[in-house]
Symmetry: C2
Subunit: 434 residues, 2 copies
């Protein structure tokens, strides 16, 4: 029996494994009533009072004392100054990452198409970018320049004309890496506002902040609840749950690597989830030993320890086929195939946000600079949703151009179906075209 007091241990052969796995995966992401009430009030105020409400809430929540909204917009010069001020290594890393992310996403661009039938009828779909998108970037400890790259680049590749970033600056503190990332990715305007008031400003528009068509980007519980409530008025990306990694191991490779990959997930926050599925008990023991040995070295060890203890697990599985079955059940955000001959197993994974194939393909390369997006479906939603991409900033319009012959041919068919549904005006409007 493996003794790991830092992380739970499970065996897929145990009779209660299914229930134990369900318990491990369970996460209550529901919003508290307090958050809900506060958000409703903030959104109402922003909708009714515009700039004044945004200034008021920003002064209050971010400990500022600005007189009006103009003090909350950063000019492009401020972004460029942040970029110029970076150490050259940081700037080069950001620019390299941006180039790789751009290169990958350019392959996602949907093009318009149409086809013409023998009688001259033309059918198709026209693809257009959104006019205007809003990008939320958290302030404080979760203020990540990589998130600016991952959200802004697909929008710009899609052709969004105006990309508006909002990011709070509590006590006036700005994150130069975030501003530099905005400069590199061509963000058009930046407002130093955050919380539900920023979401409301983007969703409804104010005197100074233009209404956007879609709001993307991560945020705290207030931001998530505000996005949920403005959905419909504007589009939103997914509401992200805690971040997750699932590592499938055949017992090859270095247990320190696996331990550190579990840490990398766990260091996000206490509810992040790191799970290992492994066919080899000796390797699981080695990983447990690595965890114990490496944990004290980590600056974020308290967060990692809490995350591993509450939501992590090392799971012995019978074989890699079973591991894939369990992986499809979990539908993880990140899946690492840390196995010797990994490529054949990719075909067995039906549900995952991203698959990292082989020992060299570690999640953190994907988080920053491999090229694919790091905004991925969490909490089993990879069963039905996809990584953020250019698709999220394009939309389709169906094109129907009937020729007179085509209309004459289809009119009786439409009329028959319309009468069957009791919609006589539908039928007659088709019949007029005979």
């Amino acid at each position: 029996m493996i003794q790991a007091n830092t992380i739970g241990y499970m065996n897929s052969a145990a009779p209660d494994f299914d229930e134990a796995l369900d318990t491990l995966l369970r996460y209550d992401g529901s919003t508290s009533d307090d958050v809900h009430q506060a958000v409703v009030q903030i959104l109402r105020d922003v909708r009714m009072h515009g700039d004044a409400a945004v200034v008021d809430y920003t002064n209050r929540f971010d400990n500022l004392g600005v007189a009006d909204i103009s003090a909350l917009e950063l000019p492009r010069a401020a972004l460029l100054a942040a970029l110029e001020g970076l150490p050259s290594e940081s700037r080069a890393a950001l620019e390299c990452a941006a180039d790789r992310v751009r290169n990958y996403h350019q392959r996602q661009v949907l093009e318009s198409w149409s086809y013409t039938e023998a009688n001259g009828t033309r059918l198709g779909q026209k693809v257009t970018p959104l006019d205007r998108a809003g990008l939320y970037v958290p302030g404080g400890k979760a203020s990540y320049p990589s998130s600016v790259l991952m959200n802004a680049i697909p929008a710009k590749v899609a052709g969004v004309s105006e990309l508006i970033m909002v990011t709070p600056t509590p006590h006036g503190q700005r994150n130069p890496l975030v501003l530099a990332a905005a400069a590199i990715t061509g963000v058009d305007r930046v407002f130093t506002i955050g919380g539900a008031q920023a979401v409301g400003a983007l969703a409804y528009g104010t005197q100074s902040i233009p209404q956007v068509d879609k709001i993307v980007g991560p945020g705290n519980a207030y931001v998530a609840e505000a996005k949920r409530r403005v959905f419909g008025t504007v589009g939103i990306d997914m509401i992200a749950g805690p971040s997750e990694v699932l590592i499938i191991s055949d017992g090859t490779g270095n247990p320190d690597w696996v331990a550190m990959d579990l840490f990398a997930q766990a260091e996000h926050d206490e509810v992040a989830q790191s799970i290992l599925l492994c066919t080899d008990v000796a390797f699981i023991e080695a990983v447990a030993e690595s965890i114990t040995r490496l944990l004290p070295e980590m600056p974020r060890k308290d967060i990692i320890a809490a995350s591993l203890k509450n939501r992590g697990a090392l799971i012995k599985v019978a074989d890699l086929d079973e591991a894939c079955v369990i992986a499809n059940r979990i539908a993880p955000e990140h899946l690492e195939l840390a196995v010797e001959d990994a490529e054949p197993w990719v075909a067995k994974i039906r549900h995952a946000g991203a698959i990292f194939v082989g020992h060299c393909s570690v999640e953190s390369l994907g988080d920053y600079c491999a090229g694919p997006n790091h905004v991925l479906p969490t909490m089993r939603s990879a069963r039905f949703s996809s990584p953020l991409g250019v698709y999220d900033f394009q939309k389709r319009t169906s094109i129907i151009h009937m020729s007179p012959a085509g209309a004459a041919e289809l009119a009786p068919i439409a009329a028959t179906l319309a009468y069957g549904e009791g919609l006589q005006a539908h039928a007659r409007s088709a019949e007029y075209r005979k």
Copy 2:
């Protein structure tokens, strides 16, 4: 001045036009507290009691007296019998429509792709269908076989393995056209259940009804609220608002056609919206006259009259350019370009669910059999969303297969960015791959 007591008249040159248009477009789609409370209770019961709750609510709401859930599943034989029992004209119309819709949607299938960099790193995205989808089909007056085609065909073209239809049969009344459409499109299982209890059964699964990954299809306020609440546990399609048509006219063509096209929208229900933008006052007068003359002939004249009076308008515009500007502001579900030389104007429309180009391209052909989907974004959401399509039943998984050389090259870049974000485990797990 145009005198139309059946439908409002507006002029874009009026000083208060912007506000008047806003008022016309305004629609409160919020859910009443009663509906909300009822749905919460029903979903909780279905989640806790499974089949028993579904049977109980179905007996109560649909006036049935079944003993258990097995009586609420229709075997495939019942669908085939419905198909066999149709008049040949109806069957041929359904089959022709299904073929055309299938042909159009086959062009939407996304394929997996990947590319390999010089150092052997392979990046890509893997496209897979959803495992299982649920299709809601309303009972009663809004029970439309065409909706079965439009929802089921993209799912099957995407490759969804199991498509489960739910449709209530109040007092045991079945709609043979709906069942025949299910037979034609290859729906795998059909349960005669509806309302929030059907949405809950599909979202959570019961002893007899499998959990699906996504729920699509229209429904009443209870169904819409239930879909909203299970979103996250499963995927959902859009929550549809009232249906809308916007017709742009240059005064050419037949005013009776325009009137009937407005009726076709208005006959859906009292809150459907039918708007004409026209450059020619005389033609607007002729349309108003057609409305007055044709309305009494329509079997659904009461619904049409209420819809036109409450939410319809004939609007005089300066020219077609202005009409396009207004159309982009409205972002209508359906846009008819009822103009002589229509094709050049397509490029000026940025936001619409579907564009019907020219006098022969009437919405009702698109509703039934042109080929493109009739499930379209409503209430200005065409600014950021798209017609239902194969895309809604596929999902993408990013593939990241780093070669040793690729990992070594990117590790320092990822590490630099990770240290910049204060995520040391991310940095070290990248550095291990140097």
